[in-house]
Each structure stands twice: as structure tokens, then as C-alpha cells.
Symmetry: D2
């Protein structure tokens, strides 16, 4: 695993857990963690239970005891690490967004395709697909319970940047992060919407907004610090992105991603309405799916709160009795389970780098629309 | 009052009630109700407590015992009735949307302005402004509790047209209704958003969608029937409208209005986020306002469910003790109270016909954007 | 109608409305309102639309233009007014609790039975039975959807007495009100539970509590003032009542009624669980019923929020389209509708004075249990 | 650790995690797991990551590499294992209820006290104290935010026994489990209520109920199987327990624990109302605390949904950014953290065996009351 900040911590917890929670055909060993700062990465290795650490990701990739490379670094480094790791015959999981540009993502998808031909597998870590409630929502849609799609209404609302004194980090710098709310969180709702619906967006119209244009530099170092030292630095990405679009097979969608929704902490929300029913989800209540089954009589009908903690819900065979909530970290535990099962059985995991590229194209279309008067842009 | 369908019934209930609930400087008498079908309008007069009825709206306007004309007819008749009533010196309340076109709305606003100069008053019936929770939300924003505006997220979701066998009515015919979800319900959330925020939209980008293009004709008559007899008729308006925009003073907004959100009945929703806090509202729970006060410590903070039923909440001095819900009809009772108080004191009621015209311009801009590849259109 | 405080206002609104909302075989006229304070009762008559007023309830009963007597006074006056009105051949609606003692309630029930034999009808005003959601809940239970009853969990939580400086009123004086939370609000949940379940409590065990033993006297007059002038007066009733019981046909129940649940305004709550499903209700969201239908597959099941605003829900034919909330006042509008239809068709309305007596017996059993170490008391 | 069923699995996950999530002065090693069935316990050891296994708990206790004994077996075995382990100088964590009788619990408390004098520590595993939302609720109450206590309303609702065909397990046999819902889940809400309030119950009045008196025997073996082979067996414990009580320092409380609340899965609920505010909690939404702060102005007040996921909430320094939910398992992770910190620093962990004994006395008082006509029983 490369990267040891927030994503590094939660990935570690999932790697430690996956082999105990699920029956897997392989043993999971936390071989080595990589990072540039030797003191910090050593501390992370100790804390998170990794057997070794490396300060050069190339060395880490080259290790014999490493079979899977899990990339948790900022987006500007994804392409080079992933391509090299695949070339070295290592299976790769890469955090989203796949890359900071369509061009990079495209190279990565090409690399993944040629690696797959050699039996080397890859996956982009859109972990929300592995929220049991969303995996279950996908199964409801796939089985036709929602009928013909009419509407998707998606939002990802956070508020951690409302305070203009919040310091600049790499997530607010275009050269590191590629974009702001767009690539960081809109990417999740685009992927989740397409995943649950089972169709792809064919075009979009969008608008980006930066509310706070400069922020204090924290002066810190390490992965989460911004480049540029102390003082004040420019925010060069969007604070919020809003857009609407159409699905190839019909149905329209709206998206809103923001770090300025005061009071919302991690409200990744998805509503889907079809001719046969409706679905509503909010990650702040990740164990619940609101489901309206249009086939019931009107007088007794309503959205029902399905607690997605039953034994026959997706991934729930590993966990606790009904009504005992699961937490965020297990979106990754489930992701790694699926990845390891696919790798073991010689299948390509999903979402693939090609799927990541397609999301990247949607985001690029939003940016292009936003830069040209919000006019329609085909994906 | 002219018109006796759904709006006629609820307006009647409010007219019967307003004088008993509030201290008013005038007596309220339900003088006469108008409609073209004499049998139906007589029945409506009896049922709803009107002293007389007329089958010709011009005769109704001319009556000496009519001081206020309340227009509840489809949008294509608003302009002629309102302009003639104002000319006759009658105060006018007109249902929304003000008219089916900017041109008509503009004539009405001109007529209203010149009538006001003669002491004749007018109001467009955006009744959601008189939901106590939204009036209270306006007071919170006006007092600065939300700080600088960042986001509005508005939706008006209904599902009464999801069934393709639902019959065609005048509300689905462009020549009668002007537009579909756009004029009928998007109008409400545009007005409500602008009202609560206290600012106007300066530009929009939008998309319209018709999911079901033809519907059975019911063969009925009367105001709610579609023109055209029996068989199948064309739906010539939008089933859904989505758009985003910017406020003149800063802040961005998204809007979604649909009659195809399966499971949502009358979910007129408004979220507002500013630098100081957030507000969330859903008309299906009309007595509640979710309020996040950003000035409290993070660890104990959260959206609080304010039951807007306290004695010092807007309009609540007329009603019941805390915790006893109010119903939809009183949005009109409150509207008529405000109208009568303003008329009595010689003030122009709000929202004025000019306000109705401005909303009409926003809707026209959405239509224009939708017809031209969703590009940005200034309001 | 006798009494013109809170209950007088809301009853008046319902009497004014019922004939316009529903098809009734009789005309409703607000003939006369009674109260002891001539200035106040005249003002109430004007405000609420009553044609006349009387300061002596015996005179009011004697009027030829009065066919129905609606008793909204404190409980200590119910028996004498109701018995005299029935004797005079007037139909009677009496607010709950029916009386302040079982003895009085028993006399009233006897009087009602003998009046019924002469075609004179009576009803006790447990208005929560006419909340559409609870009437609908009753129909679900009656049709067997909940199966065998296991649990009732009921609560009525208010907080208007938490402040020890809240003044003493007649509602806190035993000689006027009979009891406190027990008779005022526990009465409602006992009746509602028995109504929805369709069975009667056979025994109870209970505890009463008074948190604040003396309160300032407001020094006011009129119906809501306490007896005793200014200064400080003793609270001689319970602030809260908790008890559990058994239903005759099986199933156990818990009840909690309090005026000290800080933050709850009028939270009249009912949960019912049977072998076939569950129901949850909170009057603060009076238009919603949470329904769990146990016959659906576990994986897709959950409580569904039924918006009880569909045209085929109880009483809803009179009102608005789906999703448009009703308010508290219409629990009385519905009650009067049912009363008038029964009177017109020569049927005994429900709940009868005998039903009111049975609730009184339950409350008396709770008091008796509370006074004797919470031991079990048969009803 | 002794025991490897549901509790064994979740305890294992917490033991594997605690050292990685928190800074601890000790290393955590999963030394050995105990169980009587050698095949099953070996499988559990492999699955859950234990280095060794034992089929005799005495052997396990005697191992040199075991410093802490974690008892996850049915209640009838707690006393002998715990007392022997303490005597052997091992620190002990024991699942709740502490024992199946007050007598056993009393012996255990005595053993714990004498062990503590030798520096050997013990704790009873009321894990709900370590739900961050409840730990935070405790801090709010402790700091006086709720003022004087008036009401506790607690319930623990499950529905896994509603189906009469659900098989008999040891949890429904008095000789193994001691009691049913009373000891299994009422124990949790008694402890949680006393913990959050910071006071003890001084007396109770209660009622127990068994709805289904015999159930099919599954014929299985192992810890979760019932004794008795195949066929049908008697349910000898309560399916539901309801009771009310008083706190020593004032304030009244109601409790309801049931396995028959159809539709509720693991709804451990707690409401607390004091003179200064109110708190509401439902474990099905374990990351949320509803808090009403009575010091705010009425017009803007309401219960606020605190997402207990901020960095300064109890235990949250170990986890993810705000808005990312935690799951059930970490109630144990937190418990083990606190236990290990206390053991390391030579302090007695809380809740102690004495605390477990006190809860046992409350449960015994409820049983005694239920057997004697629900009369009041002092604790």
C-alpha cells in the first residue's frame, strides 16, 4: 500500500479485517507500506500493522512479497505508480479519481487492459459501490423493481471548507488534485448513480464555483500539506460542482457536490425514481435504504426504511445479526473481498480502470461545459 | 372568486376561516363564485358557502358586492380577468403562475402598477411564502443567521403522472397551462427560494423532459378536462424540469420539478446553506424546519427539527398550542390575512404582479436554455 | 357550545367547516355559545362566528335553536351539564375526560343510555380517533394485518410545565380537573390504544408523580385561571403518569403521559406490534403512519411511511390531493361529521359515554394502583 | 477468549483492531480461544486470528501467554470461569448479564474486589456504554446540560422470536440463560440508563410475559443449541419484560424489553428528559444523538441530530472524518481500549463486577415484582 493518510488508515483496517470476515482462497498479509517521509511511514507501518515500509514506491513495487499494490496517494501520482506496478505484474487497486486527466486515465486503462491479458488485475476504488445498501439498491434496479428510469437526483454534501480559515491542502490545488469537489466527491456520485442505474451518462451541462479563493498555508509537510510553504495560497480548484445530464437509455439526472453545505458532514445522497418505484439513500445513515415499491396499493404505500443488515443482504453474511449497524470502513473490506475473489478466480474486478476512465470523461465534460457557458457536452 | 376546482375549494376554506382566525379591520363575506358550467358552479357555491354564483366572469367582476376578485382559473385566462378586474377597481388575487407568457405577465404587472396608483391592490398567490416554516426561514435568513449564501437546493417532487394511463387534463396542454411542471410547480420553488434568500436569480441553465407523450382523453368537461374530446391526446408540456442558476448577490442554486418522482406526493423541498448555517424544509412535513446554527460548538451541533408551532412563529398567534400541526389550507388563510391587512392599510401586498412577472422571466429563461442546448441564459 | 378557551376555538373552527367539507343530511348553524363572563363570551361569539351567546348554560340548553350541546368546559362541570342537556332532549358531545370520577361518569353513561332510548344521542370527544392516520391504523388492525397482538407502547409527551414558574391553572387543581396528565392526556392514549387494537385493558399497574408542588397563581379570571387568587398555589394533581397493563384478549401495554418531557410539544405516540406486523405513530407528524407489513420478504422490508393523505384514506375524500397535510383542527371536523351522520341516521355515535366511562375506570385503576404500591388492579 | 459464537466473532474483531486504532501502552496478541467442540473452536481460531485454541477453559486460563480472559459464554458458566480466572491472576472481561442469579453475581463481585486488591482487574461488558453517542450523552448529563432528571424512557426492541417456528436455543432456557429478554436486553437498558443518568434505580414494579411457550428443537449442538435434542421444547424464560422505577435521586423511568416488536431489529432506545433539556437515542442509528438544549429560545429550538462523528467526540480520535459512520463492533473496540488503559495504569475498569451485580439486583427485583402482582420492590 502506498499512502498513509486518511485513506491509508481506513484501507489498512480493511486489509487487516477482510481475511477474518470472509472466506477467501488466499491469505492476506500486510507486507509493506510506502511513503516519502521515513519517520511518518515507519510510524504508520507500526500503527496499522504493516510488516515493512518503503520510502520509494518503486522499491515497494519491486518487493517479492508484494502481490497487490494499493494506491492511496493524491491523483497526480496515480498514473505512474499504477502503470509501473501493472508492468511489474502486480495486481493494482487505485483510489479514485483514477487520474487527474482523461489523458492519464486513458493510459492507465490501456495499461490495465494489456495487463489483464497477462492475468494481472486492476480496480478503481469507488468504495461506495460496496455500501451494502447501494449494492442492494443495484440488485433491486437490476431485477426491474424500479421499472423504466425517469430520475436520478444525487448530491454529495460536506461542509469542511465553509470556514475561510481552513488551511490550504493539496486537495485544493489543481496540480495535485486535478479538481476539487468535482474529482473528489462528484466522482463518487457519478459512479454510484451509473452503477445503481446500470447505465451511463451520455451528456451533461454544468457549473463550477469557488467560494473562497485563497486560504492560509499550514506550513506543514507530508502528503496532506499543500505545496508552497507558509502564508496564503490560492485555491485553484472548485469548491462546488452542479450539473445535470441524460442517461444513454433515457432518464435524466442532477448532481451536486460541495464542501460548503453547512451542517452536512458526509451526506452522499442518491435518489432514483422509475416507473415502478423509488429509492432514496443518504450515507450519513449508511445502513438504511428507503424503498418505495410502486406495486403496492396507494393507501398503504410509502417509502420503507430497509435496514440493510439482514443476513441475505450483500456482504452481510460476514457480519452481525439484523439491526447491528456497519461502519464506513467496511465499504473497503467489501471492496477488497471482491477484488481478491476476482483475482483468485482469474476474473477482471469491477469497477475497472476503464470504468474509472469513463467517470473521468464525465467529469471532464462537466468542466468543459462549465468553461463554455454551461452548454451541453456529450460524454 | 373565479374557479371552483381544487384551488377553488381550498381558497373557499381559507376565505371562510380568515376572519375568524385573525383580527382584521374588514368583514369577509363570500359574495359570489364564478364558473362557466352553471350546474357545477351552483353546486360549488352551495358547498363552499358562497352567497351567489355567476357563469360570466365579467358579470361577477361588475357586482357591487364584490371588492376582491380571486382568480383560480387556468393560466390562459389570468391576464384578461385580472386586467379587467383591476380596471373595474377591484382588488385582485391571482393564482400562480401569473400568466402563461412573459408578455401577458408583463401586461398584468403594468395594469397592477397603474391600479396601485389608484389604490387598487393586487397579489400573485405564491402561497408557500405563507407556510409558517418558510416565513420563519425567511426571518432567520433576513436576520443574518445563515451568513453569506452559498447554496440553494430546491426540488418539487410529485408522482401523479407516473402512470401512463393517467388521463390528459388541461394541465398537460400547452395552450391552457403554458407549461407543465415548470409553470405549475417549479414556479413555486423559484419564488420560495428567492423569497427565503431575499435575492433574485440572475441566470439559469436548464433542461426539460416529457416522459409520456400521449395520454388518454377522459372525455369529461369542465375546467379540469383537456380540450379535444375522447381518444388519445398529446402531452404538449414538460413532465419535469431541471435547472441551475446563480443569484445576483452570489450563491448558486439547483432546481428540480417533476410529476414523475414515484413515491413523493407533494414534496416541495428547499435547502439553503450559507456561511453561518443551513436550512432544510420538506412540505410533506410542513410544520417542521430543520435548522443548523453554525455558531454552536461542532461537538453538540446538528440540524434541529424546529416545530414551527410556537406562539411567536409567523401566523401562529391565530392557532393552537405548540405541537398541534397546521394544514395546507392555512397557507391560503395566511395569504388572505396579509392581503386584507395590506389592502386595508393602503399598502401593496407581496408578492406583487411584478414579482410574478420576474418568476415568469426565470421560467422563460429555463425554457429558452432548454431549447438551445442548455446554455446559460440571463434572466 | 359551552366553553370558549382553546377547545372552544378549535371546536368552533370545526363546526364552521364540517358542513362545507362533507356532504351532510343536516345544515350546521352555530346557534349560541355559553360562558360565565359576558364580555369574554360575547367576544368569543363574534370571533368564532356564533349567532348568540349565553352566560348561563341552563339558558343555552333551553334555547329552541339549539339541537346539539357541545361541552368544552373543565371536567367538574361535565356531568351536570350533560345530564341536564340530555334530559332536555339535546344531543350532546362532551370533551374528555368524560368526568372527574367514575361515579360521575357512571351517572352520565346511565343518562346517555336512557336518552338513546328516546333517540337522543351522545358522544365523548376522544378526537384522536378521528386522526386519519389512526382511523386508518384501526382499519389495518381490524382487517387482521397485524395478526395477534403482542405489544402496545404508548406515550403522550408534552413539556409545558417544565418551567416551575409556569402559572397554576385549573388543569393543575384536583377539584377542577380531577387529575393532571392522567385525565388530560393519558386518557387520550388509553382510548386510542383500545380503539386501534379493538380490545379493552383488563388490569393495570401504575405510578403517578408530581415534580413541581407549588406554582405561582396568575391572579387572572375566566375558565383557564386557577381558583385562589394571587400568590402561590398548590399543584394537587400528577405531572406525569406511567403504567402498564394487559388487554383482555392478550397482549401487554405500557403507557407514559407527562407534561415534563422537555422538547416534546404534543407527542402523542402509539406503537403496536402483532404477529403480523407493526405500527408507529407520532401526532407531531399526524399525517404519517409508519407501517411494517410482516408478510413481505425480510430483505426488502422495513417500516414504511404512509402519508395518510390519499383519497381513499379515512375522511380524506373531503380534502386535498395526496401529500397536502391536514391540521389538528380536522380531528374535530371529522368527529362532528361522524356525530352528525349518526344522529341523522338514528345511530349511537362512538365513542359513547359508556366508552368514556370505561376509560375513566382504567384511569381510576391506575390511581388506585399508584396509591397502593403499584400493585396490580383489575379494571 | 472463551466462546466463539456471535459474541466471540465480534469480540475477536475488536481485539484485532484495538491496538491499531488506539495508542496503547501494551501490545495486544490474540493468544488462545476456548470452546468445548474441538473442530468448531479450531475453525473459529483460524477464522478469527487466534494463535491457539483450547477445549478446556481451565487449561486456557492456565496458559502463560494469557493475561486477559474474555468470557463470551452463556450466563450459567460466568461465575465459575471468572472466579477461577481471577484467582489465577488473570484480568477478566465478562459478558453481561454478569450471572444468572444475584447469588452468583455477588460471589463474582466479591472475587473481583479481592482480586483488585492484588492488582487483578475485571469488567462486565456492557458495551453500549461505549457507543460514542451514549458516552457523549453521559458527558452532557454530567456537565448539567439536562438539569434535574424527570424522565427516562427506555426500550430494547427486537423481533427475532415473533415467528413461533423459530427454534429453541439456550437463550430461551432458564437453566442456561437465567432469564429471557430481561437478562439479555433489559440488562443493557438498565445499565445504559443508570450510566447516562449517573444514578441508580431504587425500586421497580414489573411484568414479564411469554408469548410462545414451546418451540421446535433444532437438534443442533454447540453453544447456541438448546439442551434437549430434537422435537419440541419448552420456553422457560420471558419473551418480554416491562417495568417502571424510580431513581434514588429523583426522576422516574419506564423500561420495555422484547423480542416480539415486529419490524424492530435491534432498537435499543433511550430517552432522557430533565429540567434543562432532553436526549433521544436509537441504536439502529447508533451514530446519532438527538439533543434538545432547553436554554435556546423556544422559537428556534428543537431536537438536533448530533452526528457523533466529530474528532472531539468520545473515542472518535481513532476514526474517520465527520459524517463517516462507525459500526457496532467498535463498541467492543472502545471497551477493550478502556479496559487495557485501566489495567495498564492500575485502575479498576468500569463497569465493575459490582456494577454488574447492581444491575442483576434490579433484574431480580423486576422478576420478584412480576411474580407478586407487580407490586413495588425496592432494589
Amino acid at each position: 500500500m502506498i499512502g498513509y493518510a486518511f485513506m491509508g488508515a481506513v484501507h489498512s483496517q480493511a486489509w487487516r479485517t477482510v481475511g477474518h470476515a470472509f472466506d477467501l482462497p488466499v491469505d492476506v498479509r500486510l507486507a509493506a507500506i510506502g511513503g516519502r517521509d521515513s519517520v511518518a511511514v515507519k510510524a504508520a507501518a507500526d500503527r496499522h500493522g504493516w510488516a515493512a515500509f518503503e520510502t520509494d514506491w518503486r522499491t515497494l513495487i519491486a518487493r517479492d512479497d508484494v502481490a497487490v499494490v494499493d494506491i492511496c496517494t493524491p491523483g497526480d501520482t496515480h498514473a505512474s505508480i499504477a502503470i509501473e506496478a501493472l508492468a511489474a505484474g502486480k495486481h493494482v487497486i487505485c483510489e479514485k479519481p483514477l487520474a487527474n486527466s482523461v489523458a492519464e486515465a486513458s493510459m492507465m486503462a490501456d495499461a490495465a487492459a494489456s495487463a489483464a491479458a497477462r492475468g494481472v488485475r486492476s480496480m478503481v476504488a469507488f468504495n461506495y459501490r460496496r455500501v451494502p445498501a447501494l449494492a442492494y439498491a443495484r440488485s433491486l434496479v437490476a431485477s426491474g423493481r424500479l421499472g423504466t428510469l425517469h430520475h436520478v437526483r444525487a448530491a454529495y454534501q460536506q461542509d469542511w471548507l465553509v470556514d475561510p480559515a481552513a488551511p490550504l491542502t493539496w486537495r485544493m490545488q489543481k496540480e495535485r488534485a486535478g479538481s476539487g469537489a468535482l474529482g473528489d466527491i462528484a466522482a463518487h456520485i457519478v459512479d454510484a448513480a451509473q452503477f445503481v442505474v446500470g447505465d451511463l451518462l451520455s451528456g451533461v451541462s454544468g457549473m463550477l464555483e469557488t467560494f473562497v479563493h485563497s486560504r492560509p498555508l499550514s506550513g506543514g509537510s507530508g502528503l496532506s500539506a499543500a505545496s508552497g510553504g507558509s502564508g496564503v495560497g490560492d485555491v485553484t480548484v472548485d469548491d462546488a460542482a452542479v450539473f445535470f445530464g441524460r442517461f444513454a437509455g433515457g432518464g435524466i439526472a442532477t448532481f451536486e457536490a460541495t464542501r460548503f453545505a453547512t451542517g452536512r458532514k458526509n451526506a452522499m445522497q442518491l435518489e432514483i425514481y422509475g416507473s415502478g418505484g423509488g429509492i432514496r439513500f443518504d450515507f450519513e445513515r449508511m445502513n438504511e435504504l428507503q424503498f418505495f415499491d410502486g406495486s403496492l396499493p396507494d393507501s398503504e404505500n410509502g417509502f420503507r426504511r430497509v435496514l440493510v443488515t439482514e443476513g441475505d443482504h450483500p456482504y452481510l453474511e460476514a457480519w452481525w445479526p439484523p439491526g447491528h449497524p456497519l461502519g464506513y470502513e467496511h465499504t473497503f473490506t467489501h471492496e477488497f473481498r471482491d477484488f481478491l475473489l476476482d483475482v483468485s478466480s482469474g476474473q477482471d474486478p469491477s469497477p475497472s480502470f476503464a470504468d474509472g476512465l469513463q467517470v473521468q470523461k464525465v467529469l471532464a465534460a462537466v468542466s468543459q461545459s462549465a468553461e463554455s457557458g454551461s452548454g451541453w457536452v456529450e460524454v
